[in-house]
């Protein structure tokens, strides 16, 4: 089997563990410690931030403009509108600055 297929299967197993794991493990405890809960709450934002931040180092004017517009639109709109706004700015700006 190819490496890609192994990644997909292992990723699927890992994902299923997160979906059934809370029921199997956490529900056995009466209380989750507040610090543990705070840590769990922080996981998605922490992981996703690391996928954006280093991109700033290589970003040019077009990419910066797109990210700034995405962040601004996010204060009002939902995920779809901010994504479309950011993508539109990116495509437009790249026609001028490449």
């Amino acid at each position: 089997m190819s490496t890609t297929l192994w990644i997909i299967i292992a990723g699927a197993v890992a994902t299923y563990l997160t979906r059934i794991g809370g029921h199997l493990v956490i529900s056995r405890f009466e209380n989750v410690h507040p610090r543990v809960e705070a840590g769990l709450n922080a996981v998605p934002a922490a992981v996703l931030t690391t996928l954006v931040a280093p991109e700033l180092l290589n970003a040019g004017p077009a990419e910066w403009a797109a990210l700034v517009v995405t962040a601004l639109v996010s204060l009002r709109g939902g995920l779809m509108s901010m994504f479309l706004a950011g993508a539109a700015v990116l495509i437009l700006a790249r026609q001028f600055v490449g």
């Binding site: 297929l5 990723g11 299923y16 979906r19 059934i20 794991g21 709450n41 280093p54 995405t70």
Partner: protein, 242 residues
């Protein structure tokens, strides 16, 4: 006999009630399924692999993370670890919904957990909070259309993605960071959001410059999570819950 008929038609209407509630989710996730398929092919996946990833993992953000890291030739086990980390929030959903579906047969529960996505949890939890029972037929009606459309649209996106000639001019290579920023912004109402994001951003940039990719993902994420754990609980807003 009469009660059988009644309960069967009740089950059927429960299912269709779930299907109706699933429609907004189907519509909202469609562009992301197509986008995932197109970007997967752009990052070196085949159409079949994009299809399988959607069918087996079935978690939008984690699939995007997976193909992004795959495109950067990150070690396979780190890709799997990152998928696990992005999906880790499901542990909380699972613990929450477990109380609502504990009366189902085990096989139905096993399937129920497989389709436990963010909207599935939100809608099912809202139904339970309003005092109604979360039955298997209703839950399946809510989840099945989202799953079927997600998988089909991913495959369509992958086929379509192969036809895009100039991916740079169309910004395809930078759509993922924009998408991830959108997701990060979506969490901004959570306690400690800003300090966590700042800590993760700084740590990941420093790690990217020093240790190098792909370690910036793990190091940056650990920095943000540790900060949330270390800060006193009254800042994290979780100590007031019962």
């Amino acid at each position: 006999m009469a009660t059988d008929v009644i309960s069967e038609s009740g089950t059927r209407s429960d299912f269709w009630q779930g299907v109706r509630l699933s429609m907004p989710v189907v519509v909202a996730s469609a562009p992301f399924a197509v986008l995932f398929g197109a970007l997967a092919v752009d990052n070196g996946f085949s159409v079949l692999e994009a299809f399988l990833m959607s069918a087996l993992i079935y978690g939008g953000a984690s699939q995007m993370v997976g193909i992004q890291l795959f495109g950067q030739h990150v070690a396979p086990w780190l890709i799997v670890l990152s998928i696990f980390a992005v999906n880790f929030r499901h542990v909380l959903y699972s613990a929450g919904i477990g109380r609502r579906i504990a009366h189902w047969p085990v096989i139905q529960q096993a399937l129920g957990y497989f389709i436990l996505t963010d909207p599935q949890f939100a809608v099912a939890e809202a139904r339970a909070a309003s005092g109604q029972t979360v039955g298997f037929a209703w839950y399946l009606g809510l989840g099945l259309p989202v799953y079927v459309f997600w998988v089909i649209e991913s495959a369509l996106g992958a086929v379509f993605g192969k036809l895009i000639p100039d991916t740079h001019a169309l910004g395809i290579d930078f759509l993922l960071p924009i998408y991830f920023l959108g997701l990060v912004m979506g969490f901004r109402k959570r306690p400690l959001w800003l300090p966590v994001v700042v800590a993760s951003a700084c740590a990941s940039i420093v790690a990217y410059k020093t240790v190098g990719s792909p370690w910036h993902v793990s190091i940056g994420a650990i920095a943000g999570v540790l900060l949330a754990v270390i800060l006193p609980p009254h800042h994290s807003g979780v100590e007031t819950r019962p």
